[in-house]
Symmetry: C2
Subunit: 342 residues, 2 copies
């Protein structure tokens, strides 16, 4: 997405932090030693760095702070998405304050109000449930805002292409020749878990492997690992013919992995597992998870650029592709290199 050198490139060349570069370019809010200032300005000149004037204009009249509310900061997916948005904000000279909603609509509202009271210049929301009332709140506040990792017809949305992610996961399991596949994480609304489930299910049906109802497991959100663990334990006990599991999030996969291990099924050997999310954790589980991986950095950068430069064209949905990262849990026996591509 980036064009030309970024503030990070300037910081790296000047041997300082992006914050110090920002202080030099904004003439504050903190003093910078003359020698450091000279190095920064030299790096700006050498790289031909052009400041983001929109960010500057925003900052001139405002707080220079963006806000984000996520369902639960302690879940790795939301934690990594938060870090990506925060990195994108800092790279553009802006700060990010974050609130967590604990999958509770009242708390989501309360956290959004805390951010609005803090006079954030723009806000992002990863909604816990139906975001309609939160969108109303943001619209009344008259600040730029966007939904992230969720689509809704009434506003600007930055999301992964979750239907396609589900298709990729199912296709990979089909390529391995599996006939008895279970789907972990069927959702109810238009949330990413539902969309991923829908994509996986459609692909399996198209390949004459429709999912029987007993193989499609629903897990409520706040305790995904536990629920997925119990659901998988039950499923593998009652339907031992299952040879593959498509997990719609890494949280589901972690629960499934534990259940399979506990009853003596060997993931990557006599039971294939493909996940969707691709958090850092996926690379570090044993075996490492094959996962359709979310473009965290792209989502973060697009979200920040969207609120810095609102099009005024009304509600839009921008979807970014997820990409398959093959590790060991699918049975590919790839080398254990295991890292998410950044």
């Amino acid at each position: 997405m980036a064009t030309g050198p970024t503030i990070r490139d300037v910081a790296a060349r000047a041997g300082t932090s992006t914050a110090v570069v920002s202080y030099v370019l904004n003439d504050g809010p903190r003093p910078v030693a003359p020698a450091t200032r000279a190095r920064v300005l030299a790096a700006v000149a050498e790289l031909g760095y052009r400041r983001n004037n929109l960010a500057r204009a925003l900052r001139a009249n405002r707080t220079g702070t963006l806000g984000l509310v996520v369902p639960d900061l302690a879940k790795p997916f939301f934690a990594e998405l938060t870090r990506a948005i925060e990195d994108a904000a800092f790279a553009r000279g802006l700060r990010l304050l974050v609130g967590s909603a604990h999958f509770d609509a009242d708390r989501e509202d309360e956290q959004l109000r805390a951010l609005l009271d803090a006079r954030v210049d723009a806000a992002f929301l990863v909604p816990s449930q139906d975001p309609t009332s939160s969108i109303t709140l943001l619209r009344r506040a008259r600040i730029p805002h966007a939904l992230v990792h969720r689509t809704h017809p009434d506003t600007v949305c930055i999301a992964g292409d979750d239907v396609s992610a589900g298709r990729q996961a199912a296709e990979h399991l089909l390529q391995h020749g599996h006939r008895y596949i279970a789907l972990l994480g069927v959702g109810r609304a238009e949330d990413p878990v539902s969309l991923r489930s829908r994509g996986a299910s459609a692909t399996l049906t198209e390949h004459d492997r429709p999912l029987p109802p007993w193989s499609m497991l629903t897990c409520p959100f706040p305790n995904l690992r536990d629920d997925a663990y119990r659901a998988t334990l039950d499923l593998l006990t009652t339907h031992p013919q299952i040879t593959a599991i498509c997990a719609t999030t890494d949280e589901h996969a972690v629960g499934a992995l534990r259940a399979a291990t506990e009853i003596g099924r060997r993931i990557g050997d006599d039971l294939a597992l493909v996940s969707i999310d691709g958090t850092e954790l996926a690379a570090y589980l044993t075996p490492a998870l094959t996962a359709v991986t979310a473009p965290f950095d792209t989502l973060g950068a697009d979200a920040v650029d969207t609120v810095l430069n609102p099009s005024g064209a009304g509600p839009t949905v921008r979807q970014h592709p997820l990409t398959l990262t093959v590790r060991r849990s699918c049975g590919c026996h790839a080398t254990h290199d295991g890292h998410r591509k950044s």
Copy 2:
């Protein structure tokens, strides 16, 4: 720590959320349906709930918002600690905004300034490095504040008893009869990793099992998993006589687990691993991690109560014990129940 019924108890009995209870008790900021209000007031009367008047007084004149800066929200330990502080704040009718410093002193400063600009009533800091300049910033802002998960002589600190945690980890490995023990995560300053290392090392020395220098591995902070992975791979290859590893954080343990698995050592069988932190992840790794577990909820509650009720007695350090949770990685072959005690 809690005495008497909490706002959560009231919410549970009234069948509503803590936010709604707070609206009733504070007469706003949002309206509550008469029937719900009646249920909340009945629950208050039945339970004999007494409001935290300090929280109320704070809120009357201020924003009702607390602030927290952590080194990296995408690390499970900080994410779970953040959730605990946030839960404690909400249970007391207050909100929490969070910033992440990316292990960068400049960014830590910048995030603290963002919180101060947002006029938070009090602030918590889990410092990325030496917190001296951040403490100065907080002191100048004249708001109650506390360090969490770190001690420093100049301010109020809420921390785990990390030296004792290190001792517990080492003692457990000694009870298993290990002679060749490696220590993963030696730090340099007074950070928790150092204190844990110091405790483990002292215990081993006292039991005539001093750690040879080559068995004490240092890993820099931002990429703990990778560094611990590489360090363990190297150590187990060059010193195959090692039969036990004491990891000073779950991040170190995750890296060690991956390295051991990769070279065919079986954790919990021919290689023992004990960790310190006890994040939710510990229960879900394969094998599940035996871990000296941080009292997240106690730290969160004590941190919030401390800033709501500053003693004025000057700098203090309050330390809370960590407790050993036995799972499989130490070789105890305990049942795989695996959950962190709350």
